[in-house]
Amino acid sequence: MLHASARAEPGDLDAAVDVPAGTCLAVAGPSGAGKTTLVRVIAGLHRPLTGRVEVGGTTWLDSASKTDLPPERRRCGVVFQDHALFGHMSALDNVAYGSHDRRGAHDLLERFGLAAREHAKPRELSGGERQRVALARALARAPQVLLLDEPLSALDATTRASATRELQAVLADLAVPSLLVTHDFAEAALIGDRVAVLDGGRIVQEGMAAELAARPASAFIADFTGAVVLYGSARSVADGLTEIALDGGGTLVSVHPGAGRVAVTLYPWEISLEPADTALHATSARNRLAARVTSVTEVGGRVRVGLDAGQPLAAEVTAPAARELGLAPGVLVAATFKAAATRVVPG
């Protein structure tokens, strides 16, 4: 269990987070929201005006009792934004730096498929390899909490997909709490068990990613949550399209290639809603999912409609459209969208 609360320079950070052991909280927000400050406070690299950090019953920081452990005495694994690998050391030396255990470091690198690259210097490694070394280094000292500061942002789009999958696997095995900060809501939704949206130093909403997308508490969150995510299994079909059998029923097609377990992302404003009993008509929208309305939330002239289509989904429509369709919780609708509106990433 990680508890952290901190108030730093006015406007920079005034937030509290709780992360149960074995889960990952993704803190998402635009740049300047205070995400990195939160990570630095927990790691002991930044002293807030007031604050408290507790990990597994141990107090790392308590401004009330003047407790403030230096970073080296907090068992805290950090993956930094640019990975911060020591350039004058090999991958193996980087990983063994904190643990003083070269055998264990070698085993960790082997687990990440980097045993053959362990004597390479960071600048000889690819972006994806550097990210894995940084992760191995953070895990080598058996941390009580794992902090990830934009770990994927330094990677190109192709590498990011596989790195996301690896990170998910690592976090699934991890028994300690972890906290990931990112400016990308889709990334937060893919990796975090829960998502907290940070804006102007404050957590403006926290919950499951689908919950946030369906019921944004403000127009800012509605904009920020952007993409919604659906999971399923993909296979290639004719005409260069990909067919995805969704978990919980239904299929959809995408113009993007994909195979095996995938996550499909699309934006709520790309989804059209029509009454469930509308006769099938000629349309260019290739995808039609039956869904039940779970929530209707008006945000600044727009209406975010939470849907249950076997998986949580959110659509965004105008207020007049919502009135005309009589949208209310429990109403059955059909959600339609074009194959080109979807993006497929490895799930």
Binding site: R40, G44, E72, R75, V78, F80, A84, Y97
Partner: protein, 258 residues
Amino acid sequence: MSAVSPFRVVAAGALALLVAFLALPVVAIFVEQSPGELIGALDDPGALDALWLSLQTSLAAVVILVVVGTPAAWLLATRRFRGHALLVTVLELPLVLPPAVAGIALLACFSADGLLPTGNLLVLQTAGVIVALTFVAAPFYLRAAQAAFESVDRSWLDASRTLGAGEARTFARIAIPAALPGLIAGVALGWGRALGEFGATLMFAGSFRGITQTAPLAIYERFGTDFTGALALSAVLIVLSAALLLTVKSGVARLGTR
């Protein structure tokens, strides 16, 4: 084919002029006398004593600078406190002091009736030479070392701390290796300055053969009576300094490709 611009011609001319101006006097030392005469003139115990003393005292000054100056430069590079800029200026002062003023200042401080009397320990002693060399060479090393530490990636230092290393281990294992090329360049600058030091040494330690007469002082002593001997010593100093510069440059280049 593009025409060579007039500016390019002017710049090339300026470069040629500069190379001739800086290199010719150095070349002159070697061509003024035959190599045989130069080597023969070195067969003078006084000259060899002076060279040996120069090497010993400048090396001692550099060792003192590295041992004391490196952690000091680290502090200046990584901490911002009140009076930081003033402190840096004070440490840079010897850089702009005329050497004669530096010598007077050292006398005013360490002579028998000075601010910090040291008796016969320093004045007119070999130890005094080391003090004078350290005084004038310190800013060269400190500036280079501070700049080298300032350019070390802060996230490396943060990462080291979160990996369980305290400040001392972070300094030794991360900051020094990362700053090494800059530190070595600082050693070369400081050493070069110490090898050539003349005025402060003369005023503070005097010019006693075998005790305080370094190579530059010996050159000055021969200047009036034995011009060939002065040339020979100068030639040796040039070779020493050039070797120092080349060694450091190739060493830094090797570090860069590590």
